[in-house]
Symmetry: C2
Subunit: 415 residues, 2 copies
């Protein structure tokens, strides 16, 4: 077991698209995304593993012991947010490559070939910063997002997903491997594990989340010549909404609801013109759907008041609603067992963030594992996880993968 080899690879990949403050900037289907993919493909090629690229840019490395058998998939994503952290996603892919290598070594050394084959996956565009929605590649793979529709999504400069993938040479035509199960390891992005001194999180469910798409329609006028009483300033109304989205979290106990406005654009965005239109997106998340729904109802009432007071039209639409997802209990127990065998205790927890495993869990039994995030921040250059936690996670992922390969989470009807 070479922890050093893993760490060497991890810290090497962090140099691709590196930013001045120790982060990375590797948005989906950019040149730096291509470089991480080329690195992944070289890793597989050196070990004689076949690679495939499907029609939405998902990249697979296949370890095939039994022709015709299904594949256990393990992985995460190598793309990042703009000025993002070097751990989010990349850790899970590189951990999966090293777990696969250890398993290949074990089989080559004489272990009986497992029941299933193994594939390491780098999902396309988990972050969604350049091409919304997020979790794109795994959602298309899982059949819960339309492939053709996703290929036509455009970034702010008008480039489509298809064009961007073509440009970096990763719009593939390969048949993706057929799945038997899925496992993913990821940084927590919160501070629960750090606070409790745990190394491993066994994720049992995902939070309920939804977004609100809000369009504020005021009227453009001159910032100098128009009397204040004659202005219908869309940005003033939008600013009130931004504060409401923040303040609604105070209706609940701390950490029960999180919400922020991450995207906001105004038109015409000229220093001497009162804005006519503001478009903003609010993101609401809680473990309880009732909490999100109560916050949404409060916001809708408050936004109606703002529209009335400012004599404006404000359009609000729900989108990207994600129900709670429950990972199989047997997978959570498997994580606990593997961790215990390695002398660690796994803490059961939820994920507030979305992950590729949430999409995969819709079609096959999936296991989600966390390691600690120092300070609980992510999607920023300051994101940090310790080497020893990362290598412990690789050990746990290797153990889980071996169990999945030998059928641990399969329905018993085929035994």
């Amino acid at each position: 077991m070479s922890a050093e080899a893993f760490l060497g690879d991890f810290h090497h990949v962090a140099t691709i698209g590196a930013t001045p403050n120790n982060g990375v900037d590797r948005q989906a289907a950019t040149e730096d995304d291509r470089r991480t993919r080329d690195w992944f493909r070289a890793f597989a090629a050196e070990r004689g593993w076949e690679t495939r690229v499907d029609g939405i840019g998902n990249l697979f490395a296949l370890l095939t012991w039994r022709a015709g058998a299904k594949y256990v998939l393990i992985g995460s994503h190598l793309d990042s947010q703009p000025l993002g952290g070097r751990f989010d996603g990349a850790y899970g892919v590189i951990a999966a490559l090293h777990a696969a290598e250890r398993i290949a070594t074990r089989v080559a050394a004489g272990s009986a070939p497992p029941e299933f084959n193994l594939a390491v996956v780098n999902w396309f565009n988990e972050e969604g910063g350049r091409f919304p929605p997020s979790i794109m590649g795994s959602s298309v793979y899982a059949g819960i997002k339309n492939h053709d529709e996703m290929l036509h999504v455009r970034d702010l400069s008008g480039t489509t997903v298809a064009e961007a993938l073509q440009a970096i040479g990763y719009l593939g035509r390969d048949e993706p491997p057929s799945p038997a199960g899925y496992a993913e390891i990821h940084i927590e992005q919160g501070r629960i594990l750090e606070r409790e001194g745990s190394t491993i999180g066994a994720v049992d469910s995902s939070w309920y989340t939804q977004k609100l798409d809000i369009e504020v329609l005021g009227e453009q006028s001159h910032t100098g010549a128009t009397a204040m009483a004659d202005r219908r300033d869309a940005l003033v109304a939008a600013a009130r909404i931004v504060l409401m989205v923040q303040d609604v979290t105070n209706d609940f106990e701390p950490e029960v609801l999180v919400s922020s406005v991450g995207q906001l654009t105004l038109e015409p965005n000229s220093p001497i013109v009162v804005p006519r239109r503001v478009h903003l997106v609010a993101d609401l998340r809680a473990n309880s759907p009732e909490v999100v729904k109560a916050a949404r109802a409060t916001l809708l009432t408050q936004i109606e008041d703002v529209a009335r007071q400012h004599n404006m039209t404000i359009n609000v639409q729900d989108f990207d609603i994600r129900e709670n997802q429950y990972y199989p209990g047997a997978g959570v127990e498997l994580t606990e067992k593997v961790a215990a065998d390695l002398g660690m205790e796994a803490r059961r927890m939820q994920t507030m963030a979305g992950h590729d495993s949430v999409a995969m869990n819709r079609i096959v039994p999936s296991v989600m594992v966390f390691i600690p995030s120092v300070g609980g921040v992510s999607h920023c250059e300051r994101e940090f996880s310790r080497d020893e936690d990362m290598t412990a996670g690789v050990d746990v992922l290797t153990g889980i993968t071996w169990e999945l390969l030998t059928g641990a989470l399969q329905e018993k009807n085929h035994t």
Copy 2:
């Protein structure tokens, strides 16, 4: 005097870059800006007037009766805000072309040639929406902005002023005419004339104005996974500042101070990332410098409080400070006299907005005239002025121009 000819031309030019709701979108050095310039040049060519384009894209039509004599300049600007109105600027240029034609007819009919020559001018980039700062062409002509620096100003896509002018064929090398005086007619953009039932405004001074450039530096994090207490959301702090910029006007009597945030951008502007940086521009204007300075002081104190409460750095810089400018009293009296001769009363007033005449008044005696704006709104498609007010304005501008050509505002030392 053909009011119909003027109106025909005015309403024709309004079709260039026309928008669905009766506005125009002709930002500086765009293809539609080029089309208005070509129209201006054709108007001059049909009448045998020489045209010149200087090194910052100002376009002049020259009526030269006395070789070597200086020129009285009359005009305004044909560029617009994005989704702007069809009156702002264009009215003044087309009114000036028709005033010039009437004067040319009068001279051709046997009047003694006036003391000065006449030039109609279409100033480059008065609006500044694409290439800030505004009032660019006349400020370079007047020597109060640096020519080379302005040529290097970039729009949001990275194109420079020089490149954009070159692309539409209006980066000239002609010597601009040497000025003896300036007159400009423009829509009021407020509702004083409308409220009082006056047709003509004689502008005696401009308001004191300044902008604040504000940079809010928070920290990027995950909108889902980061606990609320761990977020340092630059947009929440910026939203509070937007509301403060609005609320500070309530410290004074109505219409004494106007202020708005017209420009705001966030980074990274991704729906699932808490914003790390917001840049915004506040525009403060009042007749009294003391009012603007008091509002600025209040805002700086409040912004310091926001920075402290949110644990963020907020950088604030003053820029684009414009002192009150006083037009020559003799020019105001001239407007009153010409209006009275035509049976109208001119109302003395200030301009809240900046104009090319403010720049020109720094170097030659300048006269600024307003006609009513229905509803007092401008920089929007709903901007409107009545045909009868526009044609009355052309008559007044013609009278003023004739007086300027015969030396009405010159220092008496040369008589």
